[in-house]
Symmetry: D2
């Protein structure tokens, strides 16, 4: 079956609710609003929730700030602070915690370069604590970071690289950053998802071999993600939705044609989308024209948020001096 | 009215022929086929052709090589040679000719960076001829080049910059390179258009103030372009085409619904597309995921073709040594 | 004769004073000190000063802030403000002034990329004033900018490109930004020179054909420069100075050897330097290992300073939103 | 004691021979000459050789091609082929061999980016053999690659990252690529050293904790290196050598001054160099101005050589298609 891909729990929920009335069994939702920022916590509580949402049990917190599209320095700072707070709530951090930050994705493909970009602005301290412990010992956390690249670049599954490093340096917590796909254009580079479930490529069901999570790595994994692309299939699919809805409105409910439209199921839609996009379905992406600078901005917000969460004893100015 | 944007004469012709049977008045077409490469020459002959095609009088030669998508060094070399021949046919070049090559577009936006990229591999000789004329005098043409940036970066209309430089250094011919928009995904980074009409932003009608052509610049302008994006609107539009066609087939010709569908004109389609994409219509682009490396390849082919055309007395090896 | 190259008036003065006691005829000097920042104004007043300094008549203001090497955000802001003030003092600016900013140098060579980097962060407004004059008319100055590249890249003398553009868009003032060579390692990326004399390649004497100044361009030219390299010859020369001084100290004043050393003139030194560096004298540069990030920092300071000077009606926040 | 740093065995030998007549005990040397290329094999045979050379027991093969400075495509191809042959001689490779290539160094610092650059052009096949073994099984070797970054970027010793990955994916051989420091300007980007001893930071004596070699990693390590910088101290030191030699020639052998000069030992020289460069001794580098393009070229030669050695069943054309 054709499935519109979404990496966001809030979107999985939206999709579910398009089909079914009422709340989703096994899923709890909490929403808070700040000035220009909405924070939604979707918790998948049990197997029922897993089935409905297609994602593993855990908490998925989404920070949505549509106005990030226009550069607003104050908003950017607020989002960084909210992100820092979410990270601190979702995990337990102290100056003793040893954290490894992993930037996933391919630095050669602009919309996939988010993870490596964030990692390049993380304040790295693990070696300082080891080399000059007297100076840094109790003040700062030990933070290390790596951007391992993708399978096509290394020939090695990312989880293997990460597991290898974790086995050597034994951090307490892993934080991953990754570019996601969204169903909604307006979420591109304006939404951040933080999950305590790690990363499960291919919707979290099956393919556990490639997952980067507590089970595969052996330590808690916080996954931070930002949608940077919409699949071209989403555009085609949305067009079809609108078009059929629009035609249905113009058709009498008792006409035989109404039935045809109503019953045009996923299969038919999929056939249509394939006709439109084939043979490019998998290889196309839809992005805003200014994708380069949008990703630059959101990367800088995320690295700031992570730095604030991991180094609560540093001032913003000290951080700026330490970031290259 | 909503108009699907295309910069390619071959596509303008295709669009015309979707609506009307028969050849286009005032337009002549010639087609040649080489191994894996199709060369189509569309000539707009008179005002009738201008009206039908929405482009100025002149020759538009398109080199189409769909297999450029997979790296095939032999094909790449062939396309470079064909490009060189087209350039030589469309203009008159000798060792005395003084040529200015202009790479249009914004180097910060990957799909718009084609022009600047090509320019960076053009063999620059104008200063050598001036400084050491004895060594280079009769062997090489005087080639200079610039990538002036875009209005948002410079605050200056590109035509003003180009005109200013042309007035100072008085070249005989101007060659521009620019990224184009196509209607067809399969043309992205696999098709090259060479026109002797220059560049007329916004479809060549009106807005002559911004055109870079013989009229505005005072010397012949050869415009080389490659489609690197498809507008998201094209995807939506294509979906609607397929969907309505598909529904029409399922509907009896004498039913009133058939009429509704048949008559769903551009206006309705536009409304639908706006619903889908709004408010992002102008800001979205659809590109292949590997757009960075595709543009790298086609840029290198184009610069090779231009170098071969402009420096017929140099061997490939001499050229490789001169290119940085 | 071998001459240690310096682009800085303060260094030309230092060199002069090494040879001669007392102040330099035809040159006046003023010095101010702020917290961690020294501002020196060297004014060459007449032909006597021109001869002594090897630079044209005019004002050369140097901002020296050695601590810029360690990232200190407060100091960076102070230097930007001081730069803005110097620019405002050295020229006359109003909201009516039309300014063209030109980033000189080669973006492919890290230490020469300063000019293009600064230009990429200048707030560009000229087109906004033209397109939407009601909104911007009296609030902002018309600023345009270009990074034309270097002769080896374009085949065109930079002055020709600049003159061509100036003739078309007729700005009131030209501001150039360029990377300089210094004699002193500690000045690299920590010193800014602002001169109202324009740029005169090759020490300002002769070669007026290539100068970018009021004479060649027709409007006042403010030249902003930052040393980013020390010639390798400087290192060799300094070594020789130290060594001969050190040997002289160990030698009796009446010994014949003392005389030999004392009389080892420029010619002999030059021969030695040539032995050491030959055949690389011109092609080597000495830079700090972290040159990339140092140039990043100082570029950002300079663009901030220029933006503050040119747009006094904007707040820092408005500027940040407008810079890409 | 101040020691001029060299990573090249041929230079360690040169330095030794400056001080002592005759061949070095425990070291054998073989030299071959091809058109424009000199290949020198220095073998350190025993503890005596280790003491004299300051490097571990093993073979160090140097390919020297000074003309690489001017782009000569034929020479480049020859050097790539010679490199491929040296790699094949120094190790045992078959289609069954599983190879991990590691690009050492910091991609943000131009002269240190050699390793990461080479890695980006290595043909990666390990995942293809695993995913589609039928198609690739016996034809190609399993090659994987990573550029792990440097301690300041990751907070993790490189050897830890490499060891972690090796423990997971169990390759048979490790190949490292690294930028080196040379004593001689003319060797920059024109000399390649291949050693079967791995990498021992800090001259191979002591600090074994950081070495990447068979002892630390558990598999054979081939280290490929290219000098890309000369320390500024080398320039100063060379100047002093030339100057003292020159002064000695002018001095009578029986004069007391002759003795002073003759006896100016390392200590005094070090003091002088420190006076000249202090406090920048460690932070300065001397590079050719065109360092960016030189490193681009030599990187491409090395990746070609490695690809030829590791994939003897592929044609050059197949390789070009597989390299991004």
């Amino acid at each position: 079956m054709f499935s519109i891909r979404t990496d966001l729990a809030v979107e999985a929920r939206e999709l579910y609710k398009e089909g079914y009335a009422g709340e989703i069994p096994g899923v709890s939702v909490e929403e808070k609003n700040y000035e220009g920022v909405k924070v939604v916590k979707v918790s998948i509580l049990n197997e029922q929730g897993v089935q409905a949402m297609g994602k593993p049990v855990g908490d998925y917190i989404t920070i949505e700030a549509p106005d990030l599209k226009e550069r607003d320095l104050k908003l950017e700072e607020n989002v960084a602070k909210i992100l820092a707070n979410v990270i601190k709530q979702i995990t337990t951090l102290s100056a003793e915690t040893n954290i490894l930050v992993v930037g996933l994705g391919n630095w050669n493909v602009t919309p996939d370069a988010l993870g490596p970009k964030v990692v390049s602005d993380i304040i790295i301290t693990r070696h300082l604590k080891e080399i000059i412990p007297d100076e840094f010992g109790n003040e700062i956390s030990a933070v290390s970071a790596i951007a391992p690249g993708v399978l096509g670049i290394t020939g090695i599954e990312t989880v293997e690289i990460v597991k290898g490093i974790v086995d050597r340096i034994k951090p307490d917590i892993l934080i991953t950053i990754d570019a996601l796909a969204s169903r909604r254009i307006e979420r591109l580079a304006t939404t951040i998802q933080i999950a305590n479930t790690g990363i499960s490529p291919g919707s979290g069901i099956g393919n556990m071999r490639l997952a980067i999570n507590q089970e595969s790595i052996g330590i808690p994994v916080i996954a931070i993600g930002v949608p940077t692309v919409v699949d071209a299939a989403t555009i085609a699919n949305d067009t079809i939705e609108y078009l059929t809805n629009s035609l249905i409105k113009q058709t009498k409910e008792d006409s035989p044609f109404y039935t045809v439209l109503k019953n045009m199921g996923s299969e038919d839609k999929y056939a249509l989308i394939r006709e439109v996009l084939n043979p490019y379905v998998k290889d196309l992406m839809v992005t805003p024209k200014e994708v380069d600078s949008l990703i630059e901005n959101i990367s800088s917000i995320i690295s700031k948020g992570i730095n604030m969460a991991l180094q609560p004893n540093m001032t913003i100015e000290e951080m700026n001096q330490l970031v290259h």
